[in-house]
């Protein structure tokens, strides 16, 4: 069997008071796209209820489903959705994205040093996600808990995004 290797294999986990940054891999990400309502019905049968609009994730039992474009979904789970009809255009992305867990009281301000998004508690609640940029690279930031965030970075930029987030956290910890 070929063993898998993460782009962050050479990165050390970052732990400090009020902020921790480490990789949280072990997920299967499948992008499913299509046209009209047909494909959405088939997808719902495989992954459960679909989110109505972009920006709020739908947590079902086996999958978390995110609508990332009018007719495109991300399905995050243990495995790829099975039994999808031909109308569903499937694109596996498990290798293409790397998931970084940013956690702690400084988490929101660390992210606010990367992108021009309102990360205030009142504006970015658990379940919500945003597609934005960190350090000129596209990322998807998903708020999974009050002070826990998943940052899906592009694999080839993962280490660069990681170094950026750690650098921002170090600034906060040093009182800057």
């Amino acid at each position: 069997m070929l063993d898998a290797r993460s782009p962050l294999a050479s990165a050390y986990s970052f732990e400090a008071k009020d902020i921790a940054i480490r990789e949280e891999g072990g997920f299967t990400l499948t992008q499913v796209a299509g046209f009209g309502k047909g494909f959405e019905k088939s997808l719902a049968e495989a992954v459960g209820k679909l989110p109505a609009r972009i920006g709020v994730a739908q947590a079902n039992d086996a999958f978390t489903v995110l609508r990332i474009a009018p007719q495109q979904f991300w399905c995050v789970g243990e495995a790829a959705p099975a039994g999808l009809s031909g109308e569903c255009l499937i694109t596996p992305l498990s290798s293409g994205r790397c998931r970084i867990r940013v956690e702690g009281a400084h988490a929101r301000r660390t992210l606010a040093r990367g992108s021009a998004i309102d990360f205030d508690r009142s504006a970015f609640k658990p379940g919500q996600f945003v597609m934005t940029g960190i350090h000129h690279t596209p990322v998807l930031i998903h708020c999974v808990d009050a002070e826990v965030f998943h940052v899906y970075a592009m694999r080839t930029f993962a280490l660069a995004v990681w170094e950026w987030l750690v650098d921002a956290a170090e600034g906060l910890v040093a009182g800057n």
């Binding site: 796209a33 992305l93 080839t156 950026w164």
Partner: protein, 976 residues
């Protein structure tokens, strides 16, 4: 006899602690609560610098951000910063300050000789001279001018400070913490709005900090206490609102522990409460150390307990400055008032008399006396009496701080009632309060602040109406009573009358500018350099505008102002740059094989944002030696190369084939499943955009590859076509560049290598023919085998999900080890494709047509494709266009260089030539240097001898034009 002394009591300073600091090496002491300026004055240091052009002795004019004279280099080594106003530096223990622009010292400055040449050093003198006898004489004069210019020295050592940038969002942003700002913040805060208040000083309170009334202090401390109790209110100190940009985006630069933090704030509403700046008066020799703004004298007195030694004169044209005279008198200073107006208000006269203050009405200042320190002043008018004094406090009125409200393009307008410019209006989510809009007085400011706070709440759609603000318990505000003297300044007076203290611009300069026709305020500024110093004209612009308007016989409202631009006060470039500098300047993009390369003797090279494997040390220590050995390996055996950086795009949907048919010049509709095809795409203008191979995975799915450089462009271009114009086509595109890793296995033994690596797969010539594609299950994942060749050899590309690329790469190396397989890098990759005649980045430079690249035959004749119409523009079909040729070196000893310019054998070697060399390599097959190039008329001239010139190194070499397909023209190796 020092001009200033520390008062025994009073001031907002901590007398229990002492702070040591050095000024020009001398050890001095001050108190917490002092600024560098107040501490220097407390130590009797009045003369602190020399002026820019005339090197006249200068002391502090102000106590705030508008300071033009007291500039210092603060700190040492890599934390040293030049041109810092001493008025804005809170004193800290161990602070190091040095004076500037004076040698050997401010007190004794040899450069003061400039003032002798002063008569010819008027405004714009350098436009009228240094034209010199020779055409290049300016290059002789310039070094002297440049050495004299500039204040402070830039230190080339790296900056020790840390600069962070943080994005923030708020309902209400309040700029300034005076009475107006605090009232606005409290009003909004009480209604539950998210409020951010930015104050540039190290303490909150603004003009309240220079007052001594208990009622005002109680109001300030009570208001701050309540604000600090509200969870959604944030108060920032040492935080200057520097610029307002489109969409209510505001930069707030804050001094913090390690350096600076730039808040980039998106505010739903903004309250402008930045107050106002006092205007100096313009009279002869108005720049001596000891001449200060009245508000500065009061601030040093009340806030820092630093007062003039014995005697002070106040020159004023308004009632507001009288409070300074009264405060001085109460502190035991003998005060005289030179009142420009006919007669001040009755109550002021009474109060002055009670305090023993003499008033000379209708009497401005005619001249001042003293060398490095003010000694006496002479009044204008009937009296022309001379009065000895240590300090001359001046007040020409107050200018509302209109800078930030003008950044959005709304020009300020003149308000004759206060003889100053006020904001020209506000966007609907902006509100002005207090001094910023020309409303002076405690009651007026608090009322304004409350009104502005309510306006901001409404703009944010916050319905709750907050509790009313109770104003401070002080008497009613008194009238401002300003009356600006109308007579234009009399330049015939002997001494220099300064308008811009830091750039030494005098009233005479403005008169000369008017004589010469530089009437517009913009011309005035550029001709005299008025307002272009580090104080950005904060004490000079309005006076200059009024003087020029007077000379032109129009009002200041007609003259208008120059454009106010960010930043409000000098802002370090580092603070705006933040952390995206040095190695973080741009993100590094890494192939999934990066870590393997790093461990296996690979040298990397930048390619756009990517780091790519350039060459490996098994093949040689330098790129020149290594790539030749790597090429031989591929030509004779089998090599493996990382091609993961290729752009890879998943094209899926019922209309995918039709979509590709429109985008590529050659046909894709009938491409069979399991086959790949080389395609070229044009831009609408018929010029080549990109090329690459696209494989058909199923009826409705294609796997497209693009060049590394154009991957992002092509992706956006395909999305643009589908989403903006061809919305009828059912196609989705998704980037796979990061999802799939890729390696090229190339060479005569490449098939044997795959057989060893994938024993179950049928990789025979029939099982996997040239341009064939097949997915095979392997090691728990899917491996895509594609028989493509960039090198011209029998070759394959092996793609797999990125997570498994290193494992698969190591497996192939290990399985095919008996064949001597080794990795080869980008240099060898490029050289191999040159030998084969494949075009790449160097040839695709957005100027070439299909025919230029010898690909004209690929384009389908009947089917339409993007760029087809404009491809046939007249000059793009001309026979003499520069098109692709192969080039062989005829003089083995000479080096063949890229970027050489090509000439026919009998051409004169000058002008633009007939083309140029795009890429060069040593050919292991042909045992000589070969190259690809673009040549006028292209292969029509095959066989001809031509010249390649490289004048930068005075080299020329003879070449022959040949087919760009140097090796295996028939493609036998590809189909082996």
């Amino acid at each position: 006899m020092t001009a200033f002394r520390r008062l025994p009591g009073g001031g907002r300073i901590d007398r229990s602690r002492t702070l040591g600091f050095t000024f020009d090496g001398q050890r001095l002491f001050g108190r917490p609560g002092d600024t560098l300026a107040s501490a220097l004055l407390a130590n009797g240091k009045l003369l602190v610098g020399r002026s820019f052009k005339y090197h006249r002795p200068r002391g502090f004019l102000s106590a705030g951000i508008e300071e033009p004279n007291g500039l210092f280099t603060i700190g040492e080594g890599n934390r040293a910063e030049p041109n810092i106003p001493g008025t804005m530096v809170p004193l800290s223990d161990g602070l190091v300050a040095r004076s500037q622009n004076a040698w050997p010292s401010p007190a004794f400055d040899l450069m003061a000789v400039n003032s002798i040449a002063a008569p010819i050093l008027g405004a714009g003198f350098y436009y009228k001279t240094f034209i010199g006898p020779f055409r290049k004489s300016w290059m002789f004069y310039e070094p002297f001018i440049r050495k004299a210019a500039g204040m402070g020295k830039a230190d080339a050592a790296p900056d020790g400070a840390r600069y962070d940038v943080e994005y923030g969002f708020t309902d209400v942003l309040v700029i300034g913490s005076g009475p107006a700002g605090l009232a606005a913040a409290l009003t909004a805060g009480r209604a539950g709005a998210k409020v951010l208040l930015a104050e540039q000083d190290s303490e909150l309170g603004g003009s309240l900090l220079a007052e001594t009334s208990e009622a005002l202090e109680r109001w300030r401390t009570d208001t701050l206490a309540e604000l600090r109790s509200l969870p959604r209110v944030t108060l920032l100190t040492r935080a200057t609102a520097q610029g307002i940009y489109d969409g209510n985006q505001v930069t707030v630069a804050q001094h913090v522990a390690q350096g600076q933090l730039l808040h980039v704030i998106r505010a739903r509403s903004i309250v402008h409460a930045a107050g106002s700046l006092e205007r100096p008066l313009v009279f002869s020799n108005n720049d001596r150390p000891g001449v200060m703004l009245s508000s500065a004298v009061r601030s040093y007195l009340n806030r820092h307990a630093v007062a003039p030694a014995e005697r002070a004169v106040l020159a004023t044209n308004n009632d507001a400055a009288y409070s300074t005279a009264f405060a001085l008198a109460e502190a035991g200073v003998a005060v005289t008032i030179a009142e420009e107006r006919m007669a001040p208000a009755g109550d002021l006269l009474a109060q002055a008399a009670a305090l023993g203050i003499a008033i000379f009405p209708n009497a401005g200042i005619a001249d001042t006396f003293g060398g490095s320190q003010l000694k006496a002043v002479r009044l204008k008018g009937r009296h022309s009496v001379t009065i000895d004094c240590d300090v001359l406090a001046v007040s020409g009125g107050w200018n509302p701080a209109v800078h930030l409200s003008s950044h959005g393009g709304i020009k300020p307008k003149y308000d004759p009632a206060i003889a100053a410019f006020v904001p020209g209006g506000f966007a609907e989510t902006h509100f002005g309060a207090g001094g910023t809009i020309g409303h002076f007085g405690w009651q007026a400011c608090v009322r304004d602040g409350e009104t502005a706070g309510k306006g901001a709440l409404a703009a944010c759609g916050i319905g709750k109406s907050p509790r009313a603000i109770d104003p401070p318990g002080v008497r009613d505000d008194r009238a401002y009573g300003i009356a600006v003297s109308r007579d234009p300044f009399d330049v015939s007076l002997p001494g220099k009358a300064f308008v811009d203290f830091q750039h030494d611009v005098t009233a005479k300069d403005i008169k000369v500018a008017h004589q010469e026709g530089f009437h517009s305020v913009e011309h005035l500024k550029r001709y005299t350099t008025l307002g272009m110093a580090t104080d950005q004209g904060k004490t000079s612009n309005v006076n200059a505008i009024a003087m020029m308007a007077g000379l032109r016989g129009i009002g200041p409202e007609a003259a208008g102002t120059t454009t106010f631009r960010p930043p409000f006060s000098p802002l370090t470039v580092g603070a705006l740059a933040g952390r995206s500098v040095g190695k973080h300047f741009r993100p590094v993009r890494r192939s999934p094989l990066h870590d393997w390369h790093a461990r296996n003797g690979c040298t990397f090279i930048e390619a756009g944002l990517w780091m790519r494997a350039w060459y490996y040390d098994w093949a040689g220590p330098t790129p020149e030696t290594a790539y030749v050995r790597e090429m031989e390996l591929v030509r004779k055996g089998v090599g493996i190369a990382d091609v993961s950086t290729l752009g890879k795009i998943d094209v899926q949907g019922p209309d995918a084939a039709e979509f590709l048919n429109r985008v590529y010049v050659n046909g894709f509709a009938k491409l069979p499943v399991g086959k790949a095809r080389y395609g070229v795409m044009l831009n609408d203008d018929g010029i080549v955009l990109d090329d690459g191979t696209t494989s058909r995975i199923s009826d409705t799915q294609f796997y497209m590859t693009t060049t590394t450089a154009q991957a992002g462009e092509v992706m956006s271009w395909l999305e643009y076509l589908l989403q903006c114009h061809w919305t009828d086509l059912k196609v989705h595109v998704a980037s796979l560049t990061d999802e799939w890793g890729g390696m090229a296995v190339s060479g005569p033994d490449s098939r044997k290598a795959l057989e060893l690596a994938f024993p179950e797969a049928d990789v025979s010539n029939e099982g996997l023919p040239y341009m064939g594609v097949k997915d095979i299950p392997f090691g728990g994942t899917t491996v895509r085998l594609m028989r493509l060749s960039f090198s011209g050899e029998l070759a394959y590309e092996v793609h797999c999900p990125a997570n498994f690329t290193i494992a698969l790469w190591e497996h192939i190396l290990q399985a095919a080890a008996p064949l001597g397989i080794r990795p080869y890098g980008l240099e060898a990759l490029a050289s191999l494709r040159i030998e084969k005649g494949h075009v790449a980045g160097l040839e695709l430079d957005h100027r070439n047509s299909l025919d230029d690249l010898g690909l004209g035959k690929m384009a389908a004749r009947e089917k339409p494709y993007i760029g087809k119409e404009l491809r046939f523009r007249e000059a793009m079909q001309a026979p003499d266009r520069w098109s692709l040729v192969g080039l062989e070196a005829l003089e083995p000893g000479k080096k063949l260089r890229g970027a050489s310019i090509l000439f026919a054998a009998d051409d004169e070697i000058k002008g633009h030539g007939r083309g140029y060399i795009t890429s060069v390599t040593w050919s292991t097959e042909l045992n000589r240097f070969i190259a690809l190039g673009l040549y006028q008329g292209g292969l029509r001239h095959e066989g001809e001898e031509i010249i390649a010139a490289f004048p930068l190194k005075n080299e020329q070499v003879r070449l022959r034009i040949v087919s760009p397909h140097f090796i295996d023209k028939e493609g036998t190796r590809l189909h082996a």
